[in-house]
Symmetry: C5
Subunit: 86 residues, 5 copies
């Protein structure tokens, strides 16, 4: 997984039917040589702007949803505790 | 997913039979340290030149199609709203 | 796999239900041009801070668990021997 | 997919049995910040040196073959038309 | 696939049970902008130090083994012929 910070919402009215109802967030990778990389991750657990999150990528991202037929490759799987100092 | 901008069509007359009928677009990654990376994504939702799109990569890209036997690893899954300022 | 060094714990109280009970470690890639890349890997074999570990990424990471429905994309699969000089 | 240029053959007499009969080509990524990245892709459609090709990577590469048990992660899926100016 | 050079053995006494009996090699990516990247690949075909090998990554790496439940994401699938000049 990647540690990232939620920085914005992404709105896409025209999208795959299977993505309807999913919330998409722009996240920025934190730390290391990938710092500053941007990803768009689906969010099903209600992360807020500025929160640090765990992002899971690839085929495993689909395991966060109840269905396996959704074209997503990045999803927020956890919110890093505020007092977790890394 | 990745935010990218559609910059061109890609034409390939000689290609895998399973790719016939699919439209391929050259897209350029937007923002972050990957800005300027080029990808070729299949497009089934009719994105236009200059539009900002959500691109899904990896095995999940195949979920955008009705069949699972197509060798594609990147597909446009949504068009970012014009007034979405990120 | 990637050779990495365990540098910290990652705590995420709010997370996917399927991730409950899993331990997450911040690891830093060792050597080569990716040195300094940070990843968060699930740990089921008890790696300690400072230890060098083998990290498996992508869909294969799920093979380290008994279930295939867990959204993880990186897992510690081994601990490199202390006297392995690379 | 990635746009790449075919630059050489790769010969490997000792290889996995399931790879026998497959042709491997060294390709170089074209354009963008990944320009100059080298990959080795299986070729089943007869691309020639100097041609620009579409390369599909990851698990989707296996969809180009009739069998799913072949350890390849990159395959040429199309040849970009000569008059496609990108 | 990636062309890489075998540079060392990696020993990990404590590891996933399913990895027992597998040999792990440190390999260094050859050529292009990824030159110098280090990977650890399972080896089932007996590559020697200094040899140039084809490394398959991702889920396809598992296709090199008889079982699909092994957490590996990189495997040596061939040895590049000594007289293959690339």
């Amino acid at each position: 997984m990647i540690a990232a910070k939620v920085i914005d919402n992404i709105w896409a009215t025209r999208k795959a039917d299977s993505l309807r109802g999913l919330k998409f967030m722009l996240v920025e990778v934190l730390g290391g040589i990938d710092a500053g990389r941007l990803l768009i991750a689906a969010d099903t657990i209600g992360a807020g702007f500025g929160e640090r999150v765990l992002v899971c990528t690839g085929s495993s991202a689909r395991k966060m949803l109840d269905r396996d037929d959704v074209p997503i490759d990045a999803v927020i799987v956890g919110i890093i505790d505020e007092d977790c100092a890394f």
